[in-house]
């Protein structure tokens, strides 16, 4: 009943889910315009993509995209799971598993984006 109340901070998670959802859509539109309609189109080459990814501004944008996507996605999975899970030990297990998966996605993703050089 108090899943999204102010008392346990749930309302902030609910708000963050909306905020990241909105920002992800904005970033997705930028991504589609730049990557698929302006640059190369069908003919995406390593040089073309690498030149973009190697710039600091795109590293920031791609990292934000990754962090928000991971949060929005895994929090979404937790929102679904918590509808059905009643046992406390199972909640702890699922949250731990999701945090681990988030750690793997963010580590691999950020290691791909941040140190990238052409």
């Amino acid at each position: 009943m108090h899943k999204y109340s102010y008392k346990n901070g749930g309302v902030y998670v609910w708000f963050l889910q909306r905020l990241t959802g909105f920002l992800l859509l904005a970033l997705l539109l930028v991504h589609m315009l730049v990557e698929h309609f302006t640059l190369g189109g069908h003919e995406l080459s390593y040089e073309l993509v690498a030149k973009r990814v190697a710039t600091p501004l795109w590293k920031i944008i791609d990292s934000l995209f990754l962090v928000m996507g991971t949060f929005h996605g895994l929090n979404g999975v937790w929102m679904i799971a918590s509808d059905y899970i009643k046992k406390d030990w199972l909640k702890v297990t699922v949250v731990s598993a999701l945090l681990c998966l988030g750690g793997v996605i963010l580590t691999l993703g950020l290691l791909t984006v941040i140190p990238f050089k052409m």
Partner: protein
């Protein structure tokens, strides 16, 4: 009227379908994100690794999979906007009407994107050429 949907306690109406589709597409998208990060990691290794991975991704099976990805993203985005509008109190009264707009717009965008993404070279063989009447230009 209440119908039994497994694991839920909701009745069927447009909002239920929207909610169910949002969860299914959301689950598919986090599955895709995990694979996407791994694939991108390989794309960034070297120009050779990039070309090898891109060659694999150009396979018809992946092209058709990409149409499914487009459908999931388009629906999840548009229905997400609908949820946002309802939560902000702007569109609560029109939420059912907005659901049909979401479905219609998703359909149009997926058909347009699908035509672009579909691996038409699949039809570029003798079996299919034999099926096309000779009088067609």
């Amino acid at each position: 009227m209440r119908l039994d949907i497994p694991f839920t306690k909701y009745a069927w109406h447009s909002g239920t379908i929207a909610w169910l589709l949002h969860r299914i597409t959301g689950g598919a998208l986090i599955f895709y994100l995990t694979i996407h990060v791994w694939v991108t990691h390989h794309l960034g290794k070297s120009p050779e690794a990039f070309d090898q991975m891109m060659k694999l991704l150009m396979h018809p099976a992946f092209r058709i999979g990409e149409i499914g990805l487009l459908a999931a993203i388009v629906y999840h985005s548009l229905n997400g906007v609908r949820i946002l509008l309802v939560d902000l109190g702007i569109g609560a009264r029109h939420q059912e009407q907005m659901f049909w707009w979401v479905i219609g717009l998703s359909f149009v965008l997926c058909v347009l994107g699908g035509i672009e993404l579909f691996p038409w070279q699949l039809f570029d063989n003798e079996i299919f050429k034999g099926l096309i009447p000779s009088w067609l230009p």
